[in-house]
């Protein structure tokens, strides 16, 4: 099973946010999409998870068409999306946020198991189960957001800027956890990041996006080594 994006275009009003994009994400790989602000990274994820409408092209996960149907149905096909900016519900408790991700499966026992797995990954959430999500720190909220997505037992995890607004140390910790998840499960991850260096370091494949088009694609290590990419996107 792989994520196949073919000739995908997405319009934001009069602006073409994604322009004829094609790429493939292999199973069990961690692919990082990097690029400047406004390169179309978030739009790409929002389109794949059914929040935005595509203008043209195809996108599929296995035999599931990602451009048809609503976001809530993609989850049922194994696609979970952590949207930009700590996608948790602040008014609910940590535990409720987690349970939310497993509600659609209507299987209490399985949900309990998944919860245990998530709390093993993020032990700090376990200490705060009964607290409202808005009492958490930024890093904890991001962990909760990822945890909520994992509760749906995804095969494809779409992560939008998990490092946004977090301290460097916390970012490193979260990136490491993302790498661990890929290593220890059969999950495929598409990670969108402004923090290009950090993302490429943990990724298998890197995609550089510029104004809705692919500027470069290849093994993450190669991209890091490429002087042109370094100068334009990695800042040194």
């Amino acid at each position: 099973m792989s994520l196949i994006v073919r000739n995908l275009s997405v319009d934001h009003g009069a602006i073409r946010a994604i322009d004829n994009l094609s790429f493939i994400v292999e199973k069990r790989r961690l692919t990082a999409v990097i690029g400047a602000n406004g390169a179309g990274k978030s739009t790409l994820l929002r389109t794949l998870s059914g929040l935005n409408q595509a203008t043209a092209g195809k996108a599929s996960w296995g035999d599931h068409n990602l451009l048809k149907g609503k976001a809530e149905l993609h989850v049922r096909k194994g696609v979970s999306h952590v949207s930009e900016g700590k996608s948790v519900i602040p008014e609910l408790t940590v535990e409720e946020n987690l349970e939310l991700g497993a509600l659609w499966r209507r299987n209490k026992k399985e949900a309990e198991e998944t919860k245990r797995y998530v709390l093993d990954l993020f032990p700090r959430l376990g200490e705060r189960l009964k607290q409202r999500a808005d009492t958490l720190s930024g890093g904890e909220r991001q962990m909760l957001a990822i945890g909520r997505a994992l509760m749906s037992k995804p095969q494809l995890l779409l992560l939008d800027e998990p490092s946004l607004g977090l301290a460097p140390l916390v970012v490193e910790q979260i990136f490491q956890t993302i790498r661990d998840i890929v290593n220890s499960s059969s999950m495929t991850v598409l990670l969108v990041e402004q923090n290009a260096m950090g993302a490429l370091k943990i990724a298998d494949i890197g995609v550089v996006l510029n104004l809705g088009k692919i500027a470069a694609i290849g093994p993450a290590a190669d991209l890091i080594a490429d002087p042109a990419i370094r100068a334009a996107y990695l800042g040194y």
């Binding site: 998870s49 059914g50 929040l51 609503k70 976001a71 809530e72 989850v75 049922r76 979970s80 999306h81 952590v82 949207s83 996608s87 948790v88 519900i89 602040p90 008014e91 609910l92 409720e96 349970e99 939310l100 991700g101 509600l103 659609w104 499966r105 209507r106 909520r148 997505a149 509760m151 749906s152």
Partner: protein, 298 residues
């Protein structure tokens, strides 16, 4: 029991009806960000359904659940066939910010006149199963009656049912999540459209119970619940418009305020008090007495 305690009890009984109406408004506002001004009309039609039940079976007890069911079905129809298509059609232009308000108003008009055509505009009487005469203690008769006790008990039961559903069940969790963050709920796999419809159904049921409870104390005609809408709205605003607990508290606060002003100042102020309370709350505590964080510009 003296006059003071009697006023408190009356305040609670009337206030719990306002609380139910406020609950109806808040349930819809939370799930779809619409203040449903047609709620008065929907509750009125449901109350007529209750009246028909009493007419045919003679049982007020049966009238409450059937009216509630009718109210729920009506609300689902309104949401599915009117409000949902509407929001897709009116996202642009000068009409966009007011389309919801205008359409619920139009619906109120349709329900008013429709009910008047079906049931006539003359007043109907819903007889309470228990006495509406005030309790008598010694020589004194107090305005607090067995019907008031019935109102309080029924309202409390309805609110407990809601509290249980919202706090203890999966459906409740989905309802709360979809109300606060529809997009994130979608990403978590919640069928938000369906959940919103259930929110509307609950709202319709709450409004219907409010209507059936208030009708024995006053009369029923196509317009008689409009004032309850105003009271419910004021109560909801006191509670912050998107808090269920706030709606209940707001209803009681308004009920007590009204009962004390009519006891100690005069009944003439009944229609002025809510208006003044509304303005004071909006200007001094714009997020309701319990104080949420959302702004009034929703």
């Amino acid at each position: 029991m003296n006059q003071f305690i009697s006023s408190i009890l009356i305040g609670f009984s009337q206030g719990s009806i306002y609380a139910l109406m406020a609950l109806a408004l808040v349930l819809v506002f939370r799930s779809t960000r619409v203040v449903n001004f047609a709620q008065a009309g929907q509750a009125m039609v449901s109350t007529y359904i209750g009246w028909e039940v009493i007419n045919r079976t003679g049982s007020y007890w049966l009238a409450i659940p059937i009216a509630a069911l009718g109210g729920a079905i009506l609300a689902v129809i309104v949401q599915n066939f009117l409000m949902r298509p509407l929001s897709k059609r009116t996202s642009e232009g000068a009409i966009a910010p007011v389309a919801n308000i205008i359409v619920t108003l139009g619906l109120l008009g349709v329900l008013h006149s429709g009910a008047a055509i079906i049931w006539g505009s003359e007043e109907k009487l819903l007889t309470s199963p228990v006495s509406t005469n005030g309790f008598k203690i010694g020589e004194n008769v107090y305005p607090f009656s067995a019907t008031d006790v019935l109102i309080i008990i029924t309202s409390v039961i309805v609110m407990l049912i809601f509290a249980f559903i919202f706090k203890k069940t999966n459906l409740g969790l989905a309802l709360r999540a979809a109300a606060f963050q529809p997009e994130i709920s979608r990403l978590a796999g919640i069928r938000v459209d369906r959940v919103q419809t259930i929110g509307w159904a609950f709202s319709g049921a709450a409004g219907a119970v409010a209507g059936v409870l208030i009708a024995p104390g006053s009369y029923l005609n196509p317009y008689s619940l409009d004032i309850l809408l105003v009271f419910g709205f004021v109560a909801a605003v006191i509670g912050g418009l998107d808090s269920l607990v706030g709606a209940a508290v707001g209803g009681i606060v308004l009920g007590l305020t009204l009962s004390f002003t009519s006891q100690y100042v005069g009944t003439a102020l009944t229609f002025v008090v809510p208006f003044v309370v509304l303005l004071v709350v909006l200007l001094l505590r714009p997020n309701g007495l319990l104080g949420g964080r959302s702004s009034r510009n929703a």
